[in-house]
Amino acid sequence: MATEQDTAQPYGEQSDLEQLYERLVETGLAKLAVYAGLGVFLVWTLFPVYWLVTATLKTRETLLSFPPQWIPFDAQLGNFAALFAQRPEFFQFILNSVIVTIVTTIIATSIGAAAAYGFVAFDFPYNLDFHLPFYILSTRFMPPIVTIIPLFVIYRSFGLVNTLPGLILTYVMFNIPFAVWMMKGFFEEVPRSIVESAMIDGHTHVGAFVKIVLPLVKPGLIASAIFTIIITWNELLFAIILSQNASAMTIPVGLASFITKYSVQWVNMSVAGTIALVPVLVFAFVAREQLVSGFSMGAVQK
């Protein structure tokens, strides 16, 4: 039943909407709209950062003034010095954060990578190479907060409360599941014959893993390291419970301490917040190429 409509529509009639769209593209209005949208989004995401950083240059009064002071005219350069003068333990917090983050990242990424490679490269009995990774992931299914009380009790009996090793242990447990799953995807991309080649060329299996496989999954290692860094550096909940005095407190705990029953120390908080923000920003910026290729996988194929 071929009607006129059928024959007249090999490429389809343009609807009004399509025509309108084409007009918009022709006049450049469509592009304009896209840029406007992106602009709004950019302001939306970046403004809080701007506000935080400029707040470090304000006084409490100008910070809270209304209408808001968009640009800090009267820059208070002394705010940083003031923070460390009032709260000298902040040096300790920064040091603790750095130690905990670095050690956690190294341990979690190494264990995660080794475990993931094991699952990918070997056949376990009872199909465990399939089931175990899922079990590992399942440890992250419950809300972390439900483990805090038992963890605290266990830590107390082992003398781990208020210690950096205690915090590190928690964070390593936290981050391994993610590292395993991330690395598993990367190892699966490495052709088995490359590993076998390396063994025939004279490596042990461990040698082939270290010298050949690891360099090939570098983007994956970097991506899981960055994730671990971000999660660990910003973690507050466990840190606040497991560290009871300055010796084991991290920056987020210090930040939270500016919120007291009676007031919020906005300026100090902005300064400390900026200090917390900068290292992660710099690191992510430096490693951004690896991070992107880490997410787009397939990085091994050449």
Binding site: S197, A198, I200, D201, G202, H203, I212, L216, Q301, K302
Partner: protein
């Protein structure tokens, strides 16, 4: 440079038997080709020798050493994989010389040796390229170079040419052959391509279903196939198999096609004394095609013709019932026939094989096999 011995090697994966019972020796400096259909256990057999797969039973010896449990790195073997398996993060010369690097050879020497080897595989101008920029053929040369640089005792190659295009394949094939002969390194080469096997191997190891079917020179497996499988697998196009009944000197197909009745010569008929029913195998070129009725010929009808330059393949239907016999015949292209033409086929009887119906073994033909070979060669010219 060493003799390789497989002694009753068996490999099971769970309940799957990948390789059932491999017993074979490859002599020092010999080029042996493992040939068989996909899934028959060639790769498994090769990997057992490489040490990448651990056999369930049996032993493997290199020379006089039992290497069954030796790590691949200590076997002094080199392997070329079908997927090349180059190290993607290294350039060409680093790839080629990597085995030396693992051995702790200094950089200067490594570069020098890589250059020498690159010349042998004709890629010296590519030494500083990234392997990602190379074509398939170039990558395979790099893989070859990497295998050669250590002068291993044994070369293993698992379908190294399978992913190359036809012309490159032929090119690389002759290069591999020349290199192997120059270096004199014992080589085991896996392929499912019988043409590749025939041109490369000193010795063919024909496999099927986890077992060796026949070991022998290319001529031997072609002209004296041990059983029906080998006869059918070797040779292209495939041999025609016809199940026949013998009545005195006359053979007739068991199923229909009354037009097919061939009187055998006395000498040929004598071979099949004691076999009343068996299967004959006739290669397409062992038929002779006639366009007019001929003595002791099978009448048939052309189904289709496939020109191949100097020759043509002709599918001939014999018998007019619903289930005719279909024979493939190779004939000079000077014979002009078309679909549905009537044709007559005679058989070069001394070149046919007979196979026992139960065991599939070839029925002994006696006589001088080399004469048969010569006859078939003369025929080809």
């Amino acid at each position: 440079m060493v003799r390789v011995t497989y002694d009753s090697i068996k490999k099971k994966y769970g309940d799957t038997v990948a390789v059932e019972d491999i017993k074979v020796t490859v002599d020092d400096g010999e080029f042996a080709v493992l040939l068989g259909p996909s899934g028959c256990g060639k790769t498994t057999t090769l990997r057992c020798l490489a040490g990448l797969t651990e056999p369930t039973e049996g032993t493997i010896r290199l020379g006089d050493h039992d290497v069954t449990d030796v790590h691949p790195k200590n076997r002094n073997i080199a392997m070329v994989f079908q997927q090349f398996a180059l190290y993607p993060h290294m350039n060409v010369w680093q790839n080629i010389s990597y085995p030396l690097k693992v051995d702790g050879v200094d950089k200067e020497t490594r570069r020098e040796r890589a250059r020498e080897v690159a010349e042998m595989v004709e890629i010296e101008e590519l030494l500083d390229r990234d392997v990602g920029q190379l074509s398939g053929g170039q990558r395979q040369r790099v893989a070859l170079g990497r295998a050669m640089i250590r002068r291993p005792a044994v070369f293993l190659m698992d379908e190294p040419l399978a992913s190359l295009d036809a012309k490159l394949k032929v090119d690389m094939r002759s290069r591999i052959k020349v290199l192997q002969q120059d270096l004199g390194i014992t080589t085991l080469y896996v392929t499912h391509d019988q043409e590749e096997a025939m041109t490369l191997g000193d010795k063919l190891i024909v496999m099927d279903d986890g077992n060796i079917q026949q070991v022998g020179s290319p001529d031997k497996v072609y002209h004296e196939p041990k059983n029906r499988f080998v006869a059918g697998f070797i040779g292209s196009p495939t041999m025609n198999f016809i199940e026949v009944e013998r009545d005195g000197r006359t053979i007739r197909p068991v199923h229909g096609a009354a037009e097919f009745a061939v009187d055998l010569d006395d000498e040929v008929a004598a071979r099949y004394e004691g076999h009343d029913r068996f299967e004959i195998g006739v290669r397409p070129q062992y038929f002779k095609l006639h366009t007019a009725q001929t003595d002791n010929a099978i009448r048939g009808q052309v189904k289709v013709t496939e020109p191949m330059g100097d020759e043509q393949l002709i599918d001939v239907l014999v018998g007019e019932d619903e289930d005719p016999l279909e024979l493939t015949v190779k004939a000079p292209s000077t014979i002009d026939v078309a679909r549905n033409d009537e044709v007559w086929l005679t058989i070069q009887q001394e070149l046919i094989h007979g196979f026992d119906l139960d065991s599939g073994e070839r029925i002994a033909e006696g006589g001088d096999q080399r004469q048969r070979v010569a006859a078939s060669r003369a025929e080809a010219e």
